[in-house]
């Protein structure tokens, strides 16, 4: 592995973080809001700063009444939704690769799937297959390690072995016994049994693996995040253990490159509930560039090892990154994300999705759903000084500059944006010159199907497309998009 990990270094980082957290007074603010949003009062979770900059999520948690039971339920729903997304993607890919649709039908929603890693953004099977291969190599095992924000314990490790960019075998390494309590018949078959398509284990085996000792630092696997600082360190520590499990469990796949990808419950839930692909790509940017962009001394997400292609793409400004990812995976379109599981199985995730759709992702600061091209140009709150050119590839509109100056004290000459520490600005700033989308603008959405729209969608363009007969399904999307552009007087 590229770097090591040590308890001492982690402790130093954690102590420095606590000092800064307290110096800034965020500890005081957390104590005031935890009664509304925290399932475990009195515990400061990892990512407490992120809990505080997403008021839409805080509002939803407050509405739900975030009890320990609700939190445990969220962990379960989050797990099964991730896992079944890949199963669904395998089915869609098998169908589409066997009988490829004509090019004009490629972006219809029933042909899109979560073949991405993580299964968080929709893509066409062909593209997903090739990009997985480009990102991870011809043969790769990608395992996701999930950690509770409050207990700092690992509670599941699950992922896939990929051959030539295609997931060929699901592998559940470990699941905490409390999470298994939520399993239904379908889950028991998927995670507690093994066959040629997947490898699981009994409840006892899956739970027991979390108690295995990591011998470098002599801690149980489940406890590693308690003594190691952030997702990259968890990834480095768990990587060796997962490699050993693979030799025992999946020796026939041992030739593939192994990736460990680590994330917490809350961050993973935000990623999983992103309303649209442009939104997820924006979060991915924050997740892997947390320190530089959000000014926090930890990362929100990790790949160990980090795929080279992603490292290269992360050198781009946020807006360019989001646009390139959208072009790469979705031909420049923007998908409204669907859930793989039904509402009866994941009621909390449905409630979250519907609330985010009703309120908008940056409620109450931004009244509505963020159009993809505005999302790509979002300026986040940051605990360090940032610069407009880190985020935007073209200068802000007149109205956006005015907002940046009045709300963020941005310097128009240098582009510099002072930190949260200086201005108390906790909110994301979005270009006010483009009107937010409203839920009523969309044709009815089936959250198990999703929709697809042009990346440059606006209220006006959506209205024309819908009036002309577009239903969000992707059928003839190019025709309707061009027709709307023509009606709006836009040149091709």
């Amino acid at each position: 592995m590229e770097e090591g990990f040590s308890k001492e270094e982690s402790l130093r980082k954690r102590t420095a973080w606590e000092k800064r957290f307290n110096e800034l007074g965020i500890n005081i603010a957390w104590k005031r809001v935890e009664k509304f949003i925290s399932p475990y009062k009195g515990i400061v979770p990892m990512n407490a700063e992120i809990f505080m900059v997403f008021p839409a999520w805080a509002t939803i948690f407050r509405e739900i009444g975030m009890t320990p039971e609700a939190w445990e339920r969220l962990k379960y729903e989050n797990f099964v939704e991730w896992a079944y997304r890949v199963d669904q993607a395998v089915k869609t890919t098998n169908r589409v690769l066997k009988e490829p649709p004509p090019p004009q039908e490629m972006y219809e929603v029933h042909n899109l799937c979560y073949l991405s890693h993580p299964p968080a953004y929709l893509c066409t099977p062909e593209v997903g297959k090739h990009t997985c291969e480009m990102l991870y190599g011809k043969y790769a095992t990608v395992e996701y390690v999930h950690v509770d924000d409050f207990s700092r314990e690992i509670y599941w490790i699950n992922g896939y072995h990929n051959d030539e960019g295609f997931p060929v075998h699901q592998w559940t390494v470990a699941v905490d016994e409390k999470l298994c309590d939520h399993f239904d018949e379908e889950d028991e078959k998927a995670f507690l049994t093994s066959n040629s398509a997947w490898t699981g284990g009994t409840r006892e085996e899956l739970n027991e693996r979390l108690d295995r000792m990591e011998f470098t630092i002599r801690e149980r696997l489940r406890d590693l995040p308690k003594v190691l600082w952030d997702p990259p360190e968890w990834g480095r520590a768990t990587w060796g253990m997962i490699r050993d499990f693979r030799i025992d469990e999946l020796s026939r796949w041992a030739y593939g490159t192994l990736y460990a990808s680590c994330v917490s419950t809350y961050i993973s839930s935000i990623a999983q509930s992103a309303l649209m692909s442009a939104e997820f790509f924006t979060y991915l940017y924050y997740g892997l560039k947390t320190t530089e962009v959000l000014g926090l001394d930890y990362l929100l997400f990790s790949y160990v090892p980090m795929p080279n292609m992603l490292t290269e793409m992360l050198t781009l400004p946020q807006e360019t990154f989001v646009k390139r990812m959208s072009e790469f995976f979705l031909g420049g379109y923007n998908a409204i994300h669907k859930h793989a599981c039904g509402e009866r199985k994941i009621p909390l995730l449905f409630r979250i999705k519907k609330s985010l759709f009703k309120y908008g992702q940056f409620y109450p600061h931004y009244k509505g759903i963020v159009p993809p091209m505005v999302m790509a140009r979002t300026i986040p709150p940051s605990f360090t000084t940032t610069n407009v050119n880190m985020f935007l590839e073209t200068p802000p509109s007149k109205e956006f500059w005015e907002l940046l100056e009045s709300e963020a004290d941005a310097d128009r000459k240098t582009g510099e944006i002072p930190s949260v520490e200086e201005t108390s600005r906790f909110k994301f700033l979005l270009d006010p010159s483009v009107e937010p989308l409203k839920p009523s603008d969309f044709p009815p959405i089936d959250w198990n199907v999703g929709q697809i729209w042009p990346f440059d969608i606006t209220r006006e363009k959506m209205e024309i497309m819908v009036e002309e007969g577009y239903d969000g399904s992707g059928k003839d999307i190019e025709y309707y998009s061009e027709l709307a552009d023509k009606k709006m007087g836009k040149r091709n």
């Binding site: 110096e23 800034l24 007074g25 965020i26 005081i28 603010a29 005031r32 809001v33 009664k35 509304f36 505080m52 008021p55 805080a58 509002t59 109450p364 600061h365 949260v420 520490e421 200086e422 201005t423 108390s424 906790f426 909110k427």
Partner: protein
């Protein structure tokens, strides 16, 4: 309780704040823009305020303009944690902290129905200034709001 902008109103707020801690404000100058208060005044209350402003030799036009915009801009200047001055804001003021909010939010805070940090996160109350100073002065902000609402008669 007194009608806003009257001498009695300024004095009663000052009296209440004198008895509470404002130490955290040090030498700050706080500018507060409050919306949704003046529009709630009855015709009779407006007439009484205008009478008092005339008696005090103050410009009624300022009050009319504020009512049109439904915005009351106040300034509180502190020195060593003690209130030195409390008055209507002037364009020449150079505050170190700016607060903007609607009066209904202040009432909710005063009644204990909401938390000030929650309302700041939800942008119902906007406070511009250093983050650490805001969180360390939560009690002082609460005192300020409480004094304002508890002494204001909107009828």
């Amino acid at each position: 309780m007194a009608l806003p902008l009257t001498r009695e109103w300024f004095e009663s707020i000052l009296r209440e704040l004198d008895s509470k801690s404002c130490l955290g404000f040090g030498d700050e100058s706080v500018w507060a823009s409050i919306t949704g208060l003046l529009s709630r005044l009855s015709k009779d209350a407006v007439a009484r305020i205008e009478d008092e402003l005339t008696r005090e030799g103050m410009n009624k036009e300022n009050f009319r303009r504020m009512r049109e915009e439904d915005r009351l801009d106040l300034v509180v200047n502190f020195k060593g944690g003690k209130i030195e001055e409390f008055r209507l804001a002037q364009p020449s003021d150079t505050p170190t902290i700016r607060i903007s909010c609607d009066y209904e939010s202040l009432e909710k805070l005063w009644r204990g129905e909401e938390d000030i940090v929650w309302m700041v996160l939800m942008a119902r109350i906007k406070i511009r200034g250093k983050l650490k100073n805001f969180t360390r002065r939560i009690d002082e902000y609460t005192n300020l709001i409480s004094a304002l609402v508890s002494n204001t008669d909107v009828n």
